[in-house]
């Protein structure tokens, strides 16, 4: 775990050009372009967790998709371990092979017609991987145990598992290829709070054990506080503030971050003082 940047994002910009409809064409008009991500720069140190927070439409998922190489940036550079993720040569240099994604919805991110063994084993049988069937199954069994499931679960289908167990399967798939950079897009927002705690603890354990670097996308500031070393706050496509987690959450300097933190309903509010009614009066 060194302090050198592992992922580096600089000047990342994404402009979407809305479709030109027929009436617009007839009138000779162009729809205004939409800047979803505007000159965003940040770095992630190896073995740490960087969380991007913001409300819906702030551009966090667009950034995640560009970092994953699923969407081409309009401008800007992304590199992982010094190798470019986008542009010419990105396919060959292996930067993308080091990254994996864990998505929000464990119900739609796993192929319902595949057994768990195949879901987790598939990336192990990709190009450059020379593993036999038996060897693959053994690795899958170890991965299942590592995420808190049983090797025998591999013969079952996704629908036979609860939401939390499915997210464990998705995590096992992400670490199967020994990827060391995991993009987590709202990985626990579809889960119940007691199950969320299990998954977050598992993710932290795996990070310690395997030295993983997490790029964590979330709207939940409390979850981010538990997971992140550093936080970037995104508003309307711009990074308004970024820095160490404790600093951002305890002493935010930007007004947007302050309002975001103040808006979170917490149980601690009750523990501190009976202020919730006052807050309510002030809100009217």
């Amino acid at each position: 775990m060194t302090g050198a940047p592992f992922l580096a994002v600089s000047g990342l910009t994404k402009v979407f050009a809305p479709r030109r409809t027929l009436p617009m064409r007839l009138a000779g008009q162009r729809p205004p372009a939409l800047t979803a991500v505007d000159a965003v720069s940040f770095t992630i140190r190896r073995g740490t967790t960087y969380a991007l927070v913001g409300e819906s439409g702030s551009g966090k998922s667009t950034i995640a998709r560009m970092v994953a190489g699923l969407l081409a940036p309009t401008k800007g550079q992304i590199s992982l371990g010094g190798a470019p993720v986008t542009g010419a040569g990105a396919q060959e240099n292996g930067a993308r092979r080091r990254m994996q994604m864990v998505f929000q919805d464990p119900y739609s991110s796993l192929n319902p017609r595949w057994k768990v063994d195949d879901i987790i084993g598939e990336p192990l049988r990709g190009p450059g991987q020379r593993k036999g069937r038996a060897e693959t199954l053994e690795t899958v069994g170890q991965l299942l145990e590592r995420v808190g499931l049983h090797p025998a679960d591999g013969t079952r289908f996704p629908h036979e598992f609860s939401g939390g167990q499915r997210q464990r399967i998705a995590i096992a798939r992400a670490i199967a290829t020994r990827a060391d950079f995991i993009i987590c897009d709202e990985p626990t927002s579809a889960l119940d709070v007691s199950v969320q705690a299990q998954i977050l603890n598992l993710m932290r354990d795996l990070q310690d054990e395997l030295g993983l670097t997490y790029f964590f996308i979330s709207h939940n500031l409390a979850v981010v506080r538990y997971m992140a070393d550093d936080i970037g706050v995104l508003s309307r496509g711009r990074l308004v503030e970024d820095g160490p987690a404790a600093q951002i959450l305890d002493a935010p300097t930007h007004a947007y971050t302050q309002s975001l933190i103040a808006a979170v309903p917490t149980v601690e509010a009750v523990e501190e003082a009976d202020t919730h009614r006052a807050v309510e009066e002030a809100g009217r």
Binding site: V193, S194, A197, Y226, V267, A269, V270, H276, R277, A282
Partner: protein, 338 residues
């Protein structure tokens, strides 16, 4: 909008009159191809006038079924198989669909998670509000229109009169939920049932909607049953809370009591599993396992297989609800066997 400044606690009635909502030993069964499933098992709670009761629990706990049973909208073969529901003293669980219709909307308002469920996409906001007002209140068209504008103004819709002609899709998610709240208030109900009213919204909009809803209810002294999975929302909004697990109420009490000192091991686990915003704990406490399926509710206390504090009777007898200070808890550790 949000500034935790000086406090002014809103007083509410001493509960001498019958509660606005009294639910007693309510059981609900769903008939499925695989047999009868008990979704609610002897659920009891009360909501007084002007009071906000938070109903909290994880998926499958039965909180939404409880709300649906109260408004007589149990779907998919669900029916009340025991207990009673009283609205301001009179029973409503044994009414037929025709008798229930004037109660729903008029005496019980509803706010659901997804505003597009409550709004007809093909009718303007004005049409929907005016129709609802005229159904429930004895007003002429002009009076109903004035009342619709007033309601929209109260729920914070700018240019209310001008927005009557707008369709639901022309509003943002937060604004749409304001319209839904206006609709829920249109019949001047005694009780509002809000099922995850802000779960689909961003956190800053959520805070506004929660404050609006509880403010309007307190002003009108409307009882509010707030169903949510988010303990933070309960802590901010509710006076009292009922914690549900596997179709049962395991703990009820004043919100600060339950938050500060939960009694039931499940309530303790639930509180400990919430990541705090103010600091980073070494580790989150998680409850092992998951909520049981309705087809396999454990005998005795439904929580006992996941409970670290379980004792011998827990797997045999279901604990009765007993008082511990201002809190009622259904757990053998608190003498629930008596």
């Amino acid at each position: 909008m949000i500034s935790p400044s000086d406090s002014a606690a809103a007083p509410f009635d001493s509960p001498a009159a019958p509660p606005v909502l009294g639910v007693r030993d309510l059981s609900v069964t769903f008939t499925t191809r695989r047999g009868a499933l008990t979704a609610l098992d002897r659920v009891s709670f009360e909501i007084a006038r002007g009071e906000v009761l938070g109903v909290v629990g994880e998926s499958g706990a039965g909180k939404s079924v409880t709300g649906a049973a109260v408004i007589g909208l149990l779907a998919g073969g669900g029916r009340v198989t025991g207990g009673e529901i009283r609205l301001s003293g009179s029973r409503i669980d044994n009414l037929n669909a025709r008798q229930m219709r004037p109660i729903r909307g008029r005496r019980i308002g509803m706010v659901f998670q997804d505003p597009s469920v409550s709004l007809d996409p093909l009718l303007t906001i004005g049409d929907q509000l005016i129709e609802t007002i005229r159904t429930h209140l004895n007003l002429d068209a002009a009076g109903a229109r004035r009342r619709a504008v007033a309601l929209l103004e109260e729920t914070g819709i700018p240019d209310a009169a001008g927005r009557l002609a707008s369709f639901p899709h022309e509003f943002s998610g937060g604004m749409r939920q304001r319209v839904v709240i206006a609709l829920a208030l249109a019949g001047e109900p005694e009780l509002i049932i809000a099922d995850e009213p802000t779960t689909a919204l961003d956190v800053s909009v959520q805070a506004q909607i929660l404050d609006l809803l509880s403010g309007l209810c307190r002003e009108r002294r409307t009882a509010l049953m707030l169903i949510t999975h988010d303990m933070g929302v309960i802590a901010r909004m509710a006076d009292r809370v009922a914690v549900m697990y596997a179709g049962r109420v395991v703990e009820t009490g004043p919100v600060d009591e339950v938050v500060r000192r939960p009694r039931h091991p499940y309530a303790k686990g639930l509180m400990a599993a919430i990541p705090p915003l103010s600091h980073r704990p070494e580790r989150l406490v998680s409850i092992p396992g998951a909520m049981p399926r309705l087809s396999a509710i454990p005998a005795g206390c439904a929580f006992h297989p996941r409970c670290a504090a379980a004792v011998a009777p827990c797997s045999v007898t279901r604990p009765a609800s007993v008082a511990d200070g201002a809190v009622r808890v259904a757990c053998h550790l608190y003498g629930g066997a008596s």
